[in-house]
Structure formats: C-alpha cells, structure tokens
Amino acid sequence: MVHAGIAGYGVYVPYMRIKIPEIAKVWGKDGDKAARGLGVYEKALGAIDEDSATFAVEAGRRAFEHCKLDPARVEAVYVGSESKPYAVKPTASIVAEALGSTPHLTAADFEFACKAGTAGIQACMGLCIAQMIDLGLAIGSDAAQGRPNDALEMTAGAGAAAYVISAKKEEQIATIEKTYSYTTDTPDFWRRSHAEFPMHAGRFTAEPAYFKHVAECAREIMKRTGTKPEDFDYFVPHQPNGKFPVRVAKLLGFTEAQVKPALVTPFIGNTYSAAAMIGLSAILDIAKPGQRILVTSYGSGAGSDGFIITVNDLIDQKRPAKARHFFELINNKTYVDYATYAKHRRKIKSM
C-alpha cells in the first residue's frame, strides 16, 4: 500500500500582535487574570490588506521553498478556513494561481471550523493513496473572528500552515501512517450565513465538544494501531487556548514534555484551521528521524481528525531555514493598541 507523507511545510504568521491585557482593559476586565486563565499572552492579527487568502499563499510559498519541488506538479489544492474572503469563490484557486500550480489540478475550499485544514490533508492523502495524484497541497488558514467583548476576542489569532503531501516515499520527510476521524453533530460553535462573528456555547464547548472529540479520536486511532501514549514522542492536539491541550494530553496519559513543544497558541492566539497544523510544524522543526507524532485536530460542529506520523531520515537533509522555524519567525513582530487592532480587523463600522 502507498503511504502518503509530508514533503514540505510552511507557516505564515502576520506581523502585528496585540497583548491580551490590552484587549481586556478596553472591556473593563482584569487582563493578567484573563491571560493566565486562558494560557494565551498575545495574539497575531493580520493587517488591513491581509486575509486568509494572503496568509494561505504565503504559507504555500514557504512550503514549496522548503521542499524544493515544482508547484506545477501539484494536482490538488485544498484550503480550510472559516474566514474566507469570499462567501462564494474559492480561496484555493487564488492560492493555486499564485503558486503557479494552475490549471491542471482540482481545487476546493473546505469548511469544518478549526479542522478544515486537516480535512484537506486527508483528502490529499486519499488521492495520493489511490494513486490519482503524486502531489497535493493542504492549507489551514484563518484570520480568526471574535466579537468585540466576547471571550473569543481574547484568543482569536491569525496565521496559516501549508503541507505538501506526496505519494512518493523518497520525497517524504515524514510518513502519515494512519488517519482516523471522530465526528458527531455537536453545535458548540457556529456562524450563521451573513453573520459577521461566530457564536459559541460557552462552557458547552469544553467537555461535550473539545475534550470528548479529541480524546475519543486519540483513543480510537491508538486502539486501531495498537499504540499507547508512550509510543509517541510528541502529541499535537488542537489548541483553542493554552490550557485545553495540556488538559486533554493529561487526560489521555501523555506527559507535558510530549505536548508542550507543540503549544503555539499562547504566542499567536488560536489560529482556528491552522492551529493544529502550526503546532505540528513546531514539532517538525525539531523532530528527529524515527520519532512518532500523534496529531488530533478539532473542529467545532464537531469532529477531530487524528494522524499518526513517523519522521523519516530525509528530514535531516531537508530542514527549513532556521528563520522559518516557528519559534524564530514569531519574533518578527510589532505590538499594536486596541484602536489599531480595531482598524485593521475592520471592527469600526463606519469604515
């Protein structure tokens, strides 16, 4: 059987940051307490001329800069996002055109809250394993939305991660050994047509939603592959904040050392469709050949995609440039105040 694998990856995080206490003070809240409670200290935000399509293009370009493969070989581009610039018109076609992958390919946008990007990885894997394509591109990208003075505003970040998925073993820096998904109809978070901001069900988003789906997905994929938490070097769950991923890891029997290197949300906020994928990139930046990674994304609505990934020897020859490592690239930033944030995120209604 052909195993699909990761040939390259790229991450884009916009330049601007806002600290959580800066948001909290506008709404009369205790900022330090809010940041501590969420485990998020600052979040990234896109400039007024950025959106999830521009993030996706930048991440895609970095993925091809990393793998050094020809983008014209790509035969499938899937972009997962819940903050598409158009309600009707694909972001994937913009990305494919900008990367030089058009016209001989299929392209589509995926939507499943925060796991739409990993759904794109699964679609690329399926096409690779069926030997319908050699190379696919899956991107998770979001300029995450949060209503002013809503709890989500404290965490909704911005960024994108792109993964080049190859059917050729010799191109894979890491092989995806197994994928499994756990899905139910659980309305914990949504955005209705024409609504600007999403709604959420408060605490309902935790136990019956995030924790249940991530934990069940992780347990089932381990059961189906006869693996245990100690068989993995790293665990990368979806990270809506800095606390949930650590709690779910503990619940499943993973140690903090297995999950902490993947925590990116405390530094850039919850990047929704990109969150688990950026977390995986932080692990691939440091992973050694032979190490195993368990990834479980989570999308409200609700579902979790699980992946068991084994790192290959090729990773040592194909590391991204140091400046492209997640914990390096986030150092290029500038802090803005709430008024500047409101302008760039178009929260001022007269604009």
């Binding site: 959106d51 521009t54 014209a72 913009i94 001989h104």
Partner: protein, 155 residues
Amino acid sequence: MKHPLPLIWRMIPEKYYLMGSHCATCKNDFFPFRQICPNCRRLGKVSEKRMPTTGTVYSFTEVSAPPSGFEFEVPYPLAIIELDNKVKILAQIIDAPMEKIRIGSRVQMRFRRVGDDDEESAISYGYKFALIEDAASSAKTDKPAKTPKPTVSKG
C-alpha cells in the same frame, strides 16, 4: 481607485507572480510585460518571463496623501525596488516602520490585497514587498522561478 474586473483578471500573472518579459535579441528583461521590445522593436524576440521576487530598495518615500482605496494604510512606505535582474518596479513596503527602511535594504515579494473597492466587488490581490530580515528569510537572493507552462500535462 476602482478596479474593473477585466483588468483585475488580465493582470493576475503580473500581480501574483511578477510575470514580465524577456527579449532574446537584446537579453533584457522588462516589467510589466511588453509585447514589443523597446530596444529592438521589430527585431526583438519577446517571451514571458517571471521576474525574481527579491531585490533592493533603490529609493523610497512616505505616502501620507494616498490615492483612494489606501486611506486606511497611511502613512505607508512606497519604494522603487531594483529586482535582482536590475528591473525596477514601484511597490509598497509592508510590515516595517519607516526608520528601518534604507536605500539598499534587501526586500522580498509578498502577496497582499491591493484593491478592495467595496464589500460586493471582486478583491484585487497583488505584490507588495517586505524587508528580508523582516520576511524571516535566510535567502539572500532568489533566482527567477521557472515560468509555468500551463499547456504541459502533468500526467
């Protein structure tokens, strides 16, 4: 500035990946794309060529009285950029305060919105440039990417 849809669409190769032209007779590159070589005229043999996506700041200024559509971005740096093949283009510099920009600063192309007339119109995307140290890139030069050949099958 209004961005008519046919113009947005026709300019995608230029705006998305700096598609310019090359004259095989005089060996010069041109951007934007030229149908006829201004040096060789009818003797020129012109073909499409992607420009390099890195270059240096040749000159720059700060725009504080912008054209319509850029009101919310002021003040912003606007630069003449000399690409690595010596072709000069005019572009915004993003994600950098004015005091960090110098003549000779290395820059790299970025993909941004360049026109968004209103909430119901098509969005125009295109190139802007970021300082290379700020673009978090270790790449000091960038060879021109191969021009895609859309008619070649991937089969």
